[in-house]
Amino acid sequence: MSKLIEIQDLVLRFYTYEGVVKALEGVNLFVKKGETLGLVGETGCGKTMTGLSIFSLIPAPGQIEGGKILFKGEDGIQELLSSDERTLMSIRGKNISMIFQEPSSALNPVYTVENQIAEVFLHHRRGELVKSALEGLERDIQDGDTGSLKGFIYGLERKIYNRMSEKPNSLSLKLLSKIPIVNMYQGRLKEAVRKEVVKILREMEIGDPERVADMYPHELSGGMQQRVVIAMALSCNPMLLVADEPTTSLDVTIQAQILSLIKRLKKEYGSSILYITHDMGVIAEICDRVAVMYAGSTCEVADVIELFKDPLHPYAKALLESIPRPGKEFKSIIGTVPNLIDPPSGCRFHPRCPNAMEICSKAKPKMIEIKKDHLVACHLYSRHTK
């Protein structure tokens, strides 16, 4: 399987008043076609920022200082960080899309579900929809008799829709769509969009899609909202889906439903998923491979079964041990998360690491492949490969 997206040595800094926050320092990971990669780590270790970097949507004082993000899209491999805004805008939502953590705030409160999803459709799949509207129109013309008035209206409609499919950016049509009564020609397009919206809502296992489409976000429950958010993310059949803790704010039963939904949709749509979470249980449930992050860098990447069976990095080990289990003493990781303005030198985990050596505080360990597809960045293992 080939790599769909590869992040190489990503460095992200925030220039704040207190100092430079070294938020990401050498993130290395890749997602293969059709797989789910779990990105796990504690709060504030840069999981979400890694996800947002793929979209080049880093919030204000943040700047990407180095690294590459290679995306293998329809037209060959693209480097996303150096792409211009126009290319990014055509990729966002169409090839790469995102599911947010808090579904209630990821939906715009002033639009109905239909309008929110329709926006994505009209932004990226306008041509397709215009074509289907045009087909419907042709059918109507063939069925109905071409009486004087009807025939005239049909003729006008056909002219407009033909122009729409030929010149999607035509200025005169943009103006036309702003004139009341005249802009009713868009009714057909809207019908076509609605059909698609209802279809995708049904895919999301929403019981009454026709009714839900007309509802406002605050009228829906959390689980339903998250389904709508997922519908928006999947509406253009993206190659990569970045899911940023999509189930964290939901209760456990809904969480299970959403997880099985994501699993099923992944199979149907053939998308790859970058699943960001801090929940090892969810990782075991849904992921094929796992990348463990600590304080802004990836420290271990492995197959999910491999990681649970044989974790190599001391942090990954500690993380797995800190999952509470009945009948076992609860172990926490000693110490606290480092301040990223002034992070520890060398390996950022060394002040908390039970196996810390002299070299750990001096040099940053490199990512090395210990076994097949099992990478780790730790000085403990660098000797073996030498």
Partner: protein
């Protein structure tokens, strides 16, 4: 089929709007004060629309300008109401009835133009400052502060003096003085909404900056400004009347409530036997101004309850 499908389209197109309108009317009906506000404004709008019927122009002294109050004679002393002049006359015999009716048009025009102009300026500046932040924000907001630092009425008077006294000058001056308060509120609202997840989501879907601002940020931040604006229409008319009272308004004889009150400046007190003998000169335009401002204030409150989608469906 064709016509039918068009009718169907029309229905689906207009249906939600009608539903919202029904909902709005239902909400207004529930609160007596809102009903009053709407009633008062409906009255004024009706008066403005029907002005040519209620007070037909065509008096020779108007010289074809229907906004000029008809003048019967040059006598200085105001005349009490009689059958020719239902509300009496001002000094120099301008008809008060005609002036108040056509003055309604003037008041509405001032209100809408000033508030509309101020909104347009402040939307542009507030959106740019709030959305882009950084140096753009700093420059635009410090400029706003400079305007804000001047006493509004004095700055407006200075501007009118420069532009030359007229109704248009009043409108321009009030727009230039009035926008900073809106711009600040819009900027604040945008700063709040900009951080919401759905804005990030819109960007992640591939929306352009303009689309993000216009479709996602503004609909969520515009309500406080709409309420402010509707409250301000009344206040603006009051300020315009004050400026006009000070002699900075349109030329004498123009149908304008402020000017009519300024005409009665010398006729508030008649004499010891009949101190309120000239009551009609200042009470009648005064009542019109009072009701107009009251109507807009009540409507502003009603708007707050109706328009904000996060508050309305309670």
């Amino acid at each position: 089929m064709g016509v039918k499908s068009w009718l169907r389209n029309f229905k689906t197109e207009i249906g939600p709007t009608l539903k919202e309108l029904k909902f709005m009317i239902g909400r207004i009906k529930k609160s007596p004060l809102s009903v009053m506000g709407v009633g008062i404004l409906a009255f004024f709008i009706a008066v403005a629309l029907l002005a040519p019927v209620l007070a037909p122009p065509g008096h020779p002294s108007q010289r074809g300008d229907s906004y000029r109050m008809p003048q019967s004679g040059w006598a200085a002393e105001p005349q009490p109401p009689d059958e020719n002049h239902p509300f009496g006359t001002t000094q120099w015999q301008y008809d008060i009835y005609y002036g108040t009716i056509w003055g309604t048009r003037t008041a509405l025009r001032i209100g809408f133009m000033v508030v509309g102009g101020a909104l347009a300026v402040s939307l542009l500046i507030g959106c740019l400052a709030g959305y882009y932040g950084g140096i753009v924000d700093e420059l635009l907001m410090r400029f706003t502060d400079i305007i804000w630092a001047f006493p509004g009425l004095i700055l407006a008077m200075a501007l009118i003096t420069v532009l030359g006294p007229s109704l248009d000058s009043i409108v321009i001056a009030l727009v230039l003085v009035g926008w900073p308060s809106y711009a600040r509120v819009i900027r604040g609202q945008i700063l709040r909404v900009r951080e919401e997840d759905y804005v990030e989501a819109a960007k992640a879907v591939g929306c352009s900056d303009f689309r993000v601002i216009w479709k996602h940020i503004l609909p969520n931040s515009i309500y406080p400004i709409v309420i402010m604006a509707s409250l301000d229409i009344g206040a603006v008319v009051l300020t315009a009347a004050a400026l006009s009272f000070l002699g900075l308004g349109p030329r004498p004889g123009y149908a304008d409530w402020g000017q009519m009150i300024s005409f009665s400046r010398a006729y508030i007190y008649k004499n010891a036997q009949d101190p309120l003998g000239y009551w009609f000169t200042w009470t009648i335009p005064g009542i019109f101004i009072f009701l107009f401002v009251l109507g807009w204030n009540l409507l502003g409150d009603a708007f707050r309850d109706i328009l904000d989608p996060t508050q309305r469906r309670r």
